[in-house]
Amino acid sequence: MNTRTLLTLSLSLSLGLLGCADEKDPGADDPTNTATNGDTTGDVGGPGADGEDTAVGEDTDASGDDGGTDNGGTDDGGTDGGTDGSTGDDTGGTSDIDQGPDDWYAGQACDLFLEGGETILAASSQSDAGQALITPSEDTIYHIERSVEGDAYITLEVPDWHVELRAFANPGTTYEIYKTGGSGTLMLNGACPDEGISDQQWTIHDWGSYVIRFDASSPEPIYFAVMEQG
C-alpha cells in the first residue's frame, strides 16, 4: 500500500432519495429535497441551491494519503480512515442526483443498466484480482458476482495513456480503485429513470492494470460499467 495511490470512492445512495430523469435538477425546483436527507452542511445543496456546487464529489479524497473515503456528500467528519461503506452518514441528497453530466456516456450507461450485465466472477482477495479482468467499454456493463460474502476484487486494464474514465455503478455500491494516481470527481447522476446511477470520473495517466475493490457492504447484485471518454 505504501507505493500506490489509493483512490477511494464510496457511494451511499438510497433508492428512496433518488429522483427521475424527467425531474432534472430537483434541487433547483425543490430545495426541501436537501432537508429530506438530513443534510445541513453547506456542502450539499447542488446547482439548484447556489449554481456553483457542480458535483458532490468535490470532497472525494483522491490523494490516498489517508486511504480514507470522503464520500463526497455531506462530511460529518467521521468517515476518513477507511472505506466507510454505506453508513448513510455521507449520503448524497436528492439534490445531488442530477449533478453528473447528462451526456452520452450517462445515457449509454443507463441503457446498459436496463439491459443487464455480463457476469464476471470477482475474486475474493486482492491477490487473485487478476483472475477477473475487464477493460473500458462503451458497450458492456458487468454484473460483478461474488462467490463468497465479503469484499470483491476485479482488475481493470486501461490500455491507453492520459485518459478520462467514467465509471457507473448501481446505487449503494462502494468501491475503491488502487494506484490510479488520478484525480476523481464523484457525482451522482440522474440519467437513469427511477434509480439513478453513481457516476465517477477520473484521469488515468499511466496505462496498466488497476485493482478495484468492491466493499462487502455493496448491494447484491453489483452492476458496474467503465467507459473511456473522448
Binding site: A123, G130, Q131, E157
Partner: protein
C-alpha cells in the same frame, strides 16, 4: 542537420555501440557476459541500431497509432508493460503476460510456449502483423500502409538507405524487422547488485539478499532447478549441470477440473505439441529485473513476488471462488520439481530481497534505451527527435 547525423549523434558515451572498428560491434559487456550470437544476415551496426530504436518506439507501426514496441516493452517496467495480460491496440486482451525483451539477445526460445520460435527477426512480426491469439499492433494485411508511413516520415528514407545502401528499395518489412531486432539485442541489463556480487564486489548484496540467494539456490527451496544460469532462466539437467535448452514446466498454477486442465484460452506447451502431458507447461522466464516486471507468471495472475514464493512453497496455487478455481498442487501435469517446501516469513522476505537484487536500475533508466521521440502531453509524437545516443 541530416536525420542520419541526428540519429547517430552521440548522447551518451560508452557502449553498446560501434567501436573503433566499424565492422566490430562493441557490446560493452562485463566480463561475466559472453557476446551473444547474431544472425549472419543481420550484423550489428550503429546506423541499424539507431534506426531500430526509432522503429521500436514509433507508434506508426501499429494500425491505429496506438501501440509501439516500446510502449509494451517499457524500460522502467523491466521492458514489459505493467499489465496482467497484454491489451492489443484494438482492445483485445492477450491470454498471456508480456515477456521482457531485456537481454533477449541471449534468449534461446523467445515466447512463453513455442520452442520453435528462435529468430528475433521473425518473432517480432507476430505482434506486428499477427491476428492470433489477438490483434496486437494490427498491421496484418496492412503492409503497404506500413511501408507508406515509413516512406513518408522524414527520418526513415535516409536512415534505411544508410543501412542498406546497396538495395534499390531499402524500406521493407524485412529490413524494418532486422533493424528492430538489432536494437533489441542492445537492450542489456548486466549491472544489478547480483551481477556486481558475481564480479566479486564486496557488499554488493545486502545480508537479506545473501540469505535469500542461499535459500533460492539451496536444496530445500530448489528454485535453481529451473532458474539457473546467468539469466536465471535455464534448468539444471539430471547431472546438475546447466541444461542446453530452455525448460518448460507446469508450476501448478491451475487445475480446473481436478485433472490438470488449464484455462481454455491457453493450455501452454500442449497447444504446440498436442501432448496432453504438456498441459500448463510454459517456458521458464528470466528473473532479471523481476521485481519491476509484475504482475507475474505466464498469464500475469500472480500479484506479488511474495505470492509467487507462497505458491511454490505450497507446491501449487490454490484458487477458490474464481472462474478458474482449483488446486494446482494436485495437478497430474505439475512438474515434480514443484514439490513444495517449508518457509518462514523472514525467509520469504529474504528470497524476495534476493529477487529485488536482480534489478539493474541503471539500465532501466538508461537514456540510450529511452523513447527518442518528443511527445506532447497526450503522448502523441511531435515533429522532432531528440538526438540519439548510439555512437
Amino acid at each position: 542537420m541530416s536525420w542520419l547525423l541526428l540519429a547517430l549523434a552521440a548522447g551518451c558515451a560508452g557502449p553498446p555501440g560501434a567501436g573503433a572498428d566499424p565492422d566490430v560491434w562493441d557490446w560493452g559487456l562485463p566480463e561475466h557476459f559472453s557476446e551473444p550470437e547474431v544472425p549472419a544476415d543481420n550484423p550489428m551496426s550503429a546506423e541499424k541500431v539507431s534506426l531500430g530504436r526509432l522503429l521500436f518506439y514509433d507508434f506508426q507501426i501499429s494500425v491505429d497509432g496506438g501501440r509501439s514496441c516500446g510502449i509494451c516493452h517499457e524500460p522502467a517496467k523491466g521492458f514489459t508493460d505493467g499489465f496482467v495480460k497484454a491489451v492489443g491496440t484494438t482492445g483485445d486482451i492477450h491470454p498471456r503476460n508480456t515477456l521482457s525483451v531485456a537481454n533477449v539477445a541471449w534468449r534461446a526460445a523467445l515466447t512463453w510456449r513455442d520452442p520453435a520460435v528462435l529468430s528475433l527477426e521473425a518473432q517480432l512480426l507476430s505482434p506486428l502483423m499477427g491476428t492470433e491469439p489477438i490483434v496486437e499492433m494490427g498491421m496484418g494485411g496492412e503492409e503497404a500502409l506500413l511501408l507508406e508511413r515509413l516512406s513518408d516520415f522524414a527520418p526513415y528514407p535516409e536512415l534505411f538507405e544508410a543501412v542498406w545502401p546497396e538495395e534499390p528499395a531499402p524500406i521493407s518489412l524485412d529490413n524494418a524487422a532486422r533493424a528492430i531486432a538489432a536494437y533489441e539485442r542492445t537492450l542489456i541489463t548486466a549491472d544489478s547488485p547480483y551481477d556486481r556480487y558475481l564480479l566479486g564486489e564486496e557488499g554488493a548484496l545486502s545480508e537479506a539478499a545473501l540469505r535469500g540467494m542461499g535459500l533460492f539456490f539451496g536444496e530445500r527451496l530448489g528454485c535453481g532447478a529451473c532458474h539457473s544460469g546467468l539469466f536465471l532462466d535455464r534448468p539444471l539437467g539430471d547431472d546438475g549441470q546447466l541444461a542446453d535448452a530452455p525448460g518448460y514446466f507446469n508450476t501448478g498454477l491451475y487445475n480446473l477440473d481436478g485433472e490438470g486442465a488449464y484455462p481454455p484460452d491457453d493450455p501452454g506447451l500442449a497447444a504446440i505439441t498436442g501432448d496432453p502431458s504438456d498441459t500448463g507447461a510454459f517456458r521458464t522466464p528470466s528473473l532479471r529485473n523481476v521485481a519491476v516486471t509484475g504482475s507475474w507468471s505466464h498469464d500475469g495472475t500472480v500479484a506479488s513476488l511474495e505470492d509467487a514464493v507462497d505458491n511454490y512453497a505450497r507446491g501449487g496455487r490454490l484458487l477458490e471462488g474464481v472462474a478458474y478455481a482449483g488446486d494446482g498442487a494436485t495437478s497430474p501435469y505439475k512438474s515434480p520439481l514443484i514439490a513444495g517446501f517449508a518457509i518462514s516469513d523472514d525467509e520469504r522476505a529474504d528470497v524476495v530481497a534476493f529477487l529485488e537484487a536482480l534489478t539493474d536500475w541503471e539500465a532501466l533508466s538508461d537514456p540510450r534505451y529511452a523513447d527518442p521521440f518528443c511527445r506532447d502531453d497526450s503522448g502523441d509524437p511531435t515533429d522532432c527527435l531528440e538526438p540519439l545516443s548510439f555512437d
